[in-house]
């Protein structure tokens, strides 16, 4: 508001100054903005699934430190039909894994693509067609993942309901291979040229690839959690050599997802006292982490069967280094999605509230700073690029 007013006053002063026809320089037409090659690390990628109009999703680039919607909003990548977003640091590219229908909302021939975006121009630099069978559904961080240290391969989880993972070679820009996963789902990277999947009986499957992206071997573990009694949310936090899975009852399971073998550590509890035990994690994206090994979990009181997507009034912070719960953050608004971005002084906790606006909290104080309203109708995933 203030700014607009200033601009107006400024404009008036210019207008009253003495520009003549002779030296008037017209503004150039046709200039398109670009973004920095490396985004500031506090910027977020807000993935609007557009739940009411699923063919019209978008991934929006937003600076949560700014005050006005205009200053916050940097640009957008259109993403069709409950798409999945990935970013490669190694290749500095954005990937939107999406589906198109030849007859739009009515259907027709379905084409699934990995659409590659240049982060600077936000324009499409390439497209790779993949089998039209990727899982579509509510967003889980591991529906697709970059595989290997060099991030050469991208794995995409298929569900028809037969389950498999499509492997794309990002260097050669081709779909190479479909890896059968014997009824296990998701692509959890483990650093090596290998990925793990979660199986319906509470075990894990690790699939190892060769240099061309073909499956060389796979190993299946024993059951590590109870998928019916106390299942874990689909998307873990990666820290050290572990993937930390969050259970519906509010415990973290460290799973050492190695290339050769998988082992699970002891369960870690988010609750510290007896009366905290009725609190449960929940939400559309209920868990996130920062670069310092802090896990942020959206929590609600009086939880029980069926409340695991309800979101929460608080975010509980668990320090994976110290192995203890270090904070309980009371949110300004009931929220359904959490994310983080940034490091050092510009570091934020983000929470999509029930009005589908994104509340920004400054870290480490967790003081509420502002609310972002330009992130679309249903921003279900909101994280920085680190």
């Amino acid at each position: 508001m203030n700014r607009m007013f200033q601009g107006f006053v400024f404009g008036c002063i210019i207008a009253s100054s003495s520009v003549t026809n002779a030296d008037f320089k017209p503004e150039p037409i046709g200039i398109i903005e670009t973004l920095p090659e490396q985004y500031p690390d506090h910027w977020i990628m807000a993935q609007d699934l557009s739940f009411f109009h699923m063919l019209e999703g978008a991934v929006r680039v937003i600076d949560p430190s700014e005050e006005t919607t205009g200053d916050q909003y940097k640009g957008q990548m259109t993403s069709s039909f409950i798409a999945v977003f990935e970013h490669s640091k190694v290749r500095n590219e954005h990937y939107v894994i999406e589906s198109f229908f030849s007859r739009g909302g009515r259907g027709g021939k379905r084409t699934d693509l990995v659409t590659i975006y240049d982060p600077t121009s936000l324009s499409v630099s390439d497209e790779i067609e993949i089998p039209a069978k990727r899982l579509t559904g509510m967003p889980k961080g591991t529906q697709a993942a970059l595989i290997g240290e060099e991030e050469r391969f991208l794995g995409i989880y298929n569900f028809t309901p037969a389950q498999s993972v499509s492997i794309v070679d990002l260097e050669k820009r081709v779909f190479v291979n479909e890896v059968a996963t014997e009824g296990c789902g998701f692509v959890i990277p483990n650093g090596a040229r290998s990925f793990s999947s979660i199986c319906g009986d509470g075990s894990f499957l690790t699939s190892n690839l060769d240099a061309s992206g073909a499956l060389t071997s796979s190993t299946r573990t024993e059951t590590m959690f109870d998928p019916v009694g106390d299942p874990v949310f689909e998307t873990p936090i990666a820290y050290d050599d572990n993937a930390y899975f969050l259970s519906f009852s509010g415990k973290l399971l460290p799973v050492n997802i190695g290339e050769k073998q998988i082992s699970a550590g002891d369960w870690l509890s988010l609750a510290t006292t007896e009366d905290e035990k009725s609190w449960r994690p929940g939400g559309i994206t209920p868990m996130t982490s920062d670069t310092n090994g802090n896990v942020y979990v959206l929590m609600h009181p009086d939880g029980g069967e069926g409340t695991h997507k309800n979101g929460g009034s608080e975010v509980w912070v668990y320090d994976l280094e110290k192995k203890k719960r270090t904070n309980r953050i009371e949110l300004k608004n009931w929220s359904l999605v959490v994310g983080t971005s940034g490091t050092g002084k510009n570091k934020f906790l983000l929470a999509t509230n029930t009005d589908m606006a994104i509340d920004v909290y400054e870290l480490p104080t967790a003081n509420y700073a502002r609310t972002l309203t330009g992130a679309g109708s249903t921003p279900f995933v909101i994280d920085g690029l680190n």
Partner: protein, 121 residues
């Protein structure tokens, strides 16, 4: 029904754990990659590896049911959906069959299935 202590319980277990993908009659869905079990499933019992295949497929092996319940459910499914294909010397599944095979996963399920189908010809 041989090997089925309680047909009603087996039917409910089928509805709760299998019907969503396989349909009420086991018709499957051609478009959706779910094989038809109706008037076909029993053929697996005629080929080597087929008996254990039915335990090892992911939908069965991973179902949240006890080993005994799985045995009963498989017997029920065979008798209800594919009675004419069951060989005469078929010994109903029992708990120890399931214990023996359930955790031996299949790897490439579609590939294994094709091998068995070839054997049927």
């Amino acid at each position: 029904m041989p090997g089925v202590d309680n047909p009603q319980r087996a039917h409910v277990n089928y509805i709760l754990n299998c019907q969503g993908c396989h349909g009420p009659e086991g018709s499957g869905s051609a478009d959706g990659d779910v094989p038809r079990m109706k008037d076909f499933l029993g053929n697996f019992l005629n080929v080597e590896g087929g008996r254990e295949f039915l335990i090892r497929v992911p939908g069965v092996a991973s179902a949240p049911l006890s080993d005994t319940a799985i045995a009963e459910l498989l017997n029920w499914t065979l008798h209800t959906q594919s009675p004419d294909q069951i060989p005469e010397d078929f010994l109903p599944y029992n708990e120890s069959d399931v214990i023996q095979w359930r955790r031996k996963t299949l790897g490439d399920v579609a590939h294994e299935r094709e091998r068995l189908i070839v054997r049927m010809r």
